[in-house]
C-alpha cells in the first residue's frame, strides 16, 4: 500500500471511475499527457470506486454518474463521507440539471459533460484541485436557474391589502381548489370568484399559480387548513 502513497506532491493523483473501459482508456491517454497529473487507479463501478478511493486516496476521483452496482452519486456520497479531502469531479452523458444537482448535493466539486472538449476536463481537474467548483459551461446556465428558482419569491411581503373575499378566494386557490369549487364553497358565482382571484394575484404581484403556491407555502397556509 505504501507504494501508492503519492511521491510527488505536485502531481495530481487521479482515480477514474467509469463502467466503460474505452472511456477509461481515452481519459487515461488524455490525462497521461499532462505532466502534472497521473492516473493512480481505475474503477469499473460505483462500489469499486469507493474501495479504490479508499485504497489509493487520490486527489480527485473522476466519477461517471450512471454506473452499475452503485450510482456515481451514491459513490460520491460515500467517498466524501469517508474521505472529505478527496475531491470528486462528475463526468456524465446527462445534460439535464437534475443529475448535476444530484451530484453536487452528494458532494462533488464539479460536473463535466462527456461530449465536451477534452480540454474542458483538464481545466476542470485543475480548477477542482485548486479548491474551486467547476461546472461545464454547457450546463452551467441551467444549473444557475435551478438554484435561482429555488429561492425566488417575489410576493412574500404580501398579504398586502387584500379584501376579505380576495383573501378567502386566494387561499382556496392556493389550496388547490378549482374556480368552480371555490365559487360553491363561498357562495359566489364562478365569474366573481375568478375576478377576486385575478385581483388578488395582481395585488400580490403573482403571475402564475406556482408563484401563489410558493407564497402560500412560505406563509404556512398549508398548515392552517
Amino acid at each position: 500500500m505504501s507504494d501508492n502513497i503519492p511521491t510527488n506532491p505536485t502531481v495530481l493523483r487521479i482515480l477514474l471511475a467509469d463502467d466503460h473501459s474505452f472511456i477509461r482508456e481515452g481519459l487515461k491517454g488524455l490525462i497521461g499527457k499532462q505532466s502534472d497529473m497521473e492516473v493512480v487507479g481505475e474503477a469499473n463501478d460505483g462500489q469499486e470506486a469507493v474501495s479504490k478511493a479508499a485504497e489509493y486516496l487520490p486527489d480527485i476521483v473522476v466519477m461517471d454518474v450512471t454506473m452499475p452496482r452503485m450510482s456515481g452519486m451514491q459513490a460520491t456520497k460515500q467517498i466524501k463521507k469517508a474521505h472529505p479531502r478527496i475531491k470528486v469531479l462528475g463526468l456524465s452523458m446527462h445534460e439535464d440539471s437534475s443529475y448535476l444537482r444530484g451530484l453536487l448535493e452528494a458532494g462533488a466539486s464539479g460536473y463535466v459533460l462527456k461530449r465536451s472538449a477534452p480540454q474542458e476536463l483538464i481545466q476542470a481537474l485543475r480548477s477542482v484541485a485548486e479548491g474551486n467548483t467547476y461546472l461545464d459551461p454547457a450546463v452551467a446556465a441551467r444549473a444557475a436557474t435551478v438554484f435561482i428558482s429555488k429561492t425566488p419569491l417575489r410576493g412574500e411581503v404580501a398579504g398586502a391589502a387584500l379584501s376579505e373575499r380576495e383573501n378567502a378566494v386566494i387561499r382556496l386557490v392556493a389550496l388547490g381548489y378549482t374556480n368552480r369549487e371555490i365559487a360553491e364553497r363561498i357562495d359566489l358565482s364562478v365569474k366573481t370568484a375568478e375576478t377576486y382571484r385575478a385581483r388578488a394575484m395582481e395585488k400580490l404581484g403573482f403571475s402564475t399559480r406556482a408563484d401563489l403556491v410558493r407564497h402560500a407555502a412560505v406563509l404556512g397556509w398549508f398548515g392552517e387548513n
Binding site: M93, R142, G176, T178, V213
Partner: protein
Amino acid sequence: MTNVCCLPLCLLLGNWGTTLEMSLTSAASVGEPEDIIEAHPKREQADALTVVGLGASAGGIQALQEFFAGVPEDSGLVFVVVVHLSPKHESHLAEVLSHSTTMSVEQVKDRIRVEPNRVYVIPPSKHLIVEDGSLRLVEPELMHGRRITIDLFFRTLAEAHGPQSVGVVLSGSGADGALGLKLLKEDGALTIAQDPGEAEYAEMPRSAIGTGLVDYVLPARDMAQQIISYRDASRRMRLPSEAAPSPEQREDGPDAEIALGKILAQVHDLTGHDFAHYKRATVLRRIGRRLQVHNLENLPAYLDFLRRNAAEVNELLSDLLISVTQFFRDPEAWQALEHEVIPQLFEGKGTGDDLRAWVCGCATGEEAYSLAILLLERAAQTDEPPRIQIFATDMDADAIAHAREGSYPETIADHVSPERLRKWFYHDRNRYIIRKEVRESVLFALHDVLRDTPFSRLDLVTCRNLLIYLNRSAQERVFDIFHFAIRPEGYLLLGASEAVDVASPLFATTDKTYRIHVRRSLTRPIPFIPTAPGRPLPIRSRTSHALPSVDLLEHKSVSAVDLHRDLLERYAPPSILVDERYEIIHLSNRAGQFLRYSGGEPTNNLLRVVQPYLRMDLSTALYAAAAEGVDQKRTVRFIREPGSPSSRINLIVRPVGEPAGVRGYFLVLFEEEMAPAAEADNVDAEYSDAARQLQQEIDRLHEQQRSGVEQHESSVEELRASNEELQAINEEMRSATEELETSKEELQSVNEELSTVNQELKNRIVEVSHVNADLHNLLVSTEIATLFLDRDLRIKRYTPSIENLFNIIASDINRPLVHMTHNLDYPEMLKDAETVLQRLTPVEREVRSLDGHHLLARVLPYRTLEDRIEGVVLTFVDISERKKSEEALRASEERFRLLVGGAADYAMFMLDSEHRITFWSLGAEHVFGWNESETLGKSCAMIFTPEDRKAGVQEREMQQALEHGSAPDRRWHIRKDGTRLWVDGAMMRLDDERGEMRGFAKIARDATEEWKAQEALRQAHDELEHRVTERTASLSEALAALEAALAERRQAEAARQDLLIRLASAEEDERRRLSRELHDQTGQHLAGLLLGLDELRLAQPEGSAAAGLAERLRQAAADLSQEVHQLAWDLRPPSLDDMGLQATLLTYVRDWQERHSVEADFHAQNLEGKRLTPEIETTLYRVVQEALTNVARHAQATRVSVVLEWRREVVLFVEDNGAGFDTEAALASTERLGLRGMRERLALAGGTLVIESEPGKGTTLIVRIPLPAPPEDNVDV
C-alpha cells in the same frame, strides 16, 4: 290604672279649698300616700312645644300625605310619624312625605332633640320613644307577636309631654295605638282618630274609637286645623295655679277660684259625684282639657258654657273619671297575690263557706275578672272549694255597664296568657268575652266607697290606684272603712304607688313591694261608717229619690267647734255636746268633773263615762229629749263625798234643732245648785234616820237601775252593730238587685229576640203554606192517584185522581182505609199496606180496575224528613197504555217468528248463553234435517262434522262471536242423514239492553253448489298459477345466462384495462429500455469516440488536413452525442427513474420554456425528497408532457404554470393564459384526442381530470390522484 271615686263629703262652699289640700311637692317616698299624687311633675313645666304623634300602618301613606297637606308651614308643631315598616326593606317614607309638605322631614337616627315645624319619621325595625324632649330609638320587642310600636311611642309621649301632646291614629289593621291613646287621654292629651269611612284600613281607627276616649273622629286632611286650634286654645287658656291658693286669694275670691268651686258644685248637683276630695292639680288639668276642646280661655267662660250646655257635664264627668285598667296590671303584684295571699284565703274554707272579696274601683271590670280568674283557678285545685263572691264597685255607671258586659277587645291578649284566654274567654267577632262562670262569680255595683255602706266580712279587698287621687283625710277614712269591711286576718291589696301609713294601727304590711296588707285584729270604736239609708243617685240613674243635696252639703259642712262656741255664749254652765249616739263631741272646760273614767276599754260614750250618780237621770233626760224634742231638766241631788253636804245639780239636756244639718245632737248642761248648808243640816237632823234608810234604798235602786241601764246599753250597742251589718247586707242586696235589674234587661233582650224568632217563624209558615200549595198543585197535575195513610192506615190526604178509584170524599179524611169501597180488583191492598209498614220495603203490583184499566199499584213507606216512618203512601198509575203497547210488541214478535219460520232457504237458530238451542226455524229444519223438537234445548254441536268437533271448531266460533260480535261460518257441516253440506253463514252474539251477552244466533244457508262452482274455479286458477310458475322459472334461467354473459363482458373489460395498463407499462418499459440503450450504449460509445478523435487530432501535426478532419469528426460526434441524449430524453427521461418526478418536471418545464419561448413556471409542493410510485410518476409526467404540448400547439399562451402538490391527494395544475376553449365541445371532438388519452391514462391510475376553460380566458387542467398523504409529512394537521 286610675279608678276614681268621688267623695261626697262635706263641702263648705266658702272654704272648699281646705279640703283640697294636697302636697304638690314631687316625691314618692313609700308609705306616704299623699306624696305619690303627682305622677308627672315635670311636664307642667315643659314649654309649650306641642308634639303630634301620628300612628299608622297599612294604608297609612295616603292618610299621612293628606294629613300633611293640611299642615301650614309655620304651625309651630312637632310631628312624629310612627308607622309599621317592613324590617326587611329600607324605608323611603321620609322622602315620600317630603313631597307632601314644605317642612323638613327626616328619619330619626339614634337620638334627636325635637324642634318645631319639623317632621320626624321612624326608621324600619326600631321602636321610637320620647325622652326629655328628645326622640330615641330602641330595639323592638314583640308583645305576644303583636306590634306595639305605636302604643309604646304614645305611652312615652304621654309621660313626657302630657297635655302638650296629640295622638293621632290613622289607617291600619290591628289595634296598635288604641292603648296608647288611652294613656295619652289620661294624661290630658288630645286624641284623634281617622274617620273609619275614609281610612283604607279601618281597623286601627275603629279600635281607637272603641276605647271611647277619642276626642275627634276626623278625615285626615281636617286634623291639622283641629290640632292647631286646640293648641292655640291651650296657649290662651288661663287656669288658676295648681298650688293651693293662699288665704288671701281665697278670701278675695278671684273669679277663677269661684268658678272652679261652682263648676264642681254643678257637677255634684247634676251627677251626684263630688270631686271635692279630688286632688286639685288633677281636677284643674282635666277641666283644662275641656277648655281646650271647646276653645275656651278661662274657668268662668267654661262655667258659663257648662251652664248652657246640658250635655257638657257628662263629658266633663267622663273626663274626670277616665279609667284605664287592664287585665293583671302589674303582673308581679298579681303573682304575689296568687302565691302568697290566695292560698291563705282558701285555708280553712270548705264547701259551705263563702270566700268574699271586694274590688273597689273596678272601672271596666278587668281587675275584678282577673281576681275572679285567680280565685277560680285556685278553687279548681281545691277539693271542696268555697263559694266565691266578688263585689266589684265603681262610681262610673258607664264603666260598670261595660264591666257587666264582660266583652273586651283582642288587645287583651297582650296581658292575658293564651291558656287563660282559652279557658276563661270565648272569642266572638274580634272580641274576647268572659265566660259565664267567671262572670257569675262577680257582682258589679255602682258604689261610692266614701258614701255608700261598705260590704262586710270580706276576705280580701283590692283597691288599686284609687287612693292616689284622694287627699289624706279621705284616705284615712277609706282605711277605716276597709278595716270595718275586712274580716280579721283579711287582706288588703293596694296599688303600686299606694300604701297604708306604716304606723297605721289598722293594717300590717306583709309585702311592701306589692302593697299587700293584712288587717290588724283590734277592737276599736266603731268608726265612721257611711250608712246613709238612701244615697243621692246621679241624675243619669233611673231611680230618682235623690235628696236635696244642698241640705246634705250644709249638714256636712257645719263645724262642731263653731256651733259649740256659739251655744256656749248662751249657756255658761259646764256643758258637753254629744251626738245622737251620745258620743262626746265636745266638752266645755269644766265639764270634766262630771265624768269619770273607769277600767276597761276607753270610750267617748257619755252615758258610760258620766259620774254614776248622774247616769240614770241623764239617760232618761237624753231619751226624753230625743223622743220629745224639747229641753229636759232633771235635778239631781248627790253627795260629792261621804260626809260632805249634798249638792243639787240641774241636768239640762237640750236637743240641738238649729241648724238642720246637726239635728240629733244634744247639748248637756250641768247647773250646780249649792244648797244652803244650814238648811241641809236641818233636814239631815230631821230626817236623819229615815233619810239614811231611804238613801240606802235609793242607792240600792240606783244600783239596780244602773245595771239595767248597762244591760240595755250593751244590747243597744249590739243592736247597732247588727244594724250596721244589716245595712251592709242591704247593700249587698242592692247590688244583687241591680244585678237582677241587669238580668231583667237581658231577659227583655231575650224577649226581643224571641219576638224576632216568632216573626221569622211566621215567615216560615207562609213559606210552608206556599210549599204546601206547590205540592198540592204538583200532585193534582201528575194525575197519579195517591193515598197518604197514617200508621193506623187512616187516610191523611189524597189526590183528586184517587176519586176515580175510591169512593172517597173530603170528609173521609181520618177514616180507616178499610172502610173505603173502591173499584179495584185488589184484595191484597190492606195486607200490602201492613207489610210495608212492618218491613219498610215497597210493594209493587199490577191490578185491574173494574172498568178494565190496568193500574200499577205501589205501596211505599211514608218517611218524614227526619227519616221516621209515619205511615204509608199508596199510588196508582194507570198503565193501560203500556199494557197495550206490550200487547202490540208481542204481536209483532209473533209476526217476526212467522217470517223467520217461513224463510226456508235460510237456517236460523238461536242459542242461549249455555250454547243450548232455544229457537230452531223451519229453514233450519229444511237445511239440516232435524226438526224443532229434536233440537230445542240441545247443543248445536250436532251440525258440526266429527273432525271439526274434534278440532274444537265450534268453540272457536263461539269465542270469536263472543269477542267480535260475529263469526263467519263457512265450512262443511253435517245433516241429520249424515250427508255433508257446505254452509255459508254467520254466528252472531246477542246482547240484552244492558249490553250483556244473552246468547247467540246463527243464520246459515246451504252453499254446497256454490262451493262446488268455486272449487272448479279454484282448480282452474291453480292450473294457471302452475303454468305461470313454470314460465317464470325459464325466464329466470335466461336472465342468469344473460348475467353470466355480462360478467364475462365485465371480465373482458377488466382484462382490456389490464391490457391497457400493461400496454402502457410495456410502452414505457420499451421507451425506458431504448432511452437507456441510447444513453448507456450509444452515448457512451460516442463519448469514447470523442476521446479517441481528440487523441487522433492531437496526434496529427497542428494545422494538417488530418488534424482538421479529426476536429470536424469530433465535432460531429459531439453533436451526435447531444442528439442521442435528446432522443433518449424524449423517449423517457432517465432522470424520471434516477432523480424522481419533481426533478424531472423541473428540467422538462425549463426545456419546454426554452424550446417554445413561452414563460413557464413549475412549483412542486410537499414533494421535496419524496417519491411517488413509478406508475403515477410516469402518468403525471406524461400528462404534463401532453398538456404542455397542447399549450404549445393551441393556446397561444404567454404564460404557463405547472403546480404539483401532494397533500391528501396528488394534485396537478397546468394553467395557461391562452386562448381557452369550449370544454364540452373539446372533449366531444376527435381532434383533442390528447385530452381523452390523458383521461384514460389517469383512469388507469385511479385519477381524474377536470378542465376549466373558456374561450379567451385561458385553461386550467386539474388532475387529482387519490393517494395517502406521505406519512412523514403531516401537512394536514
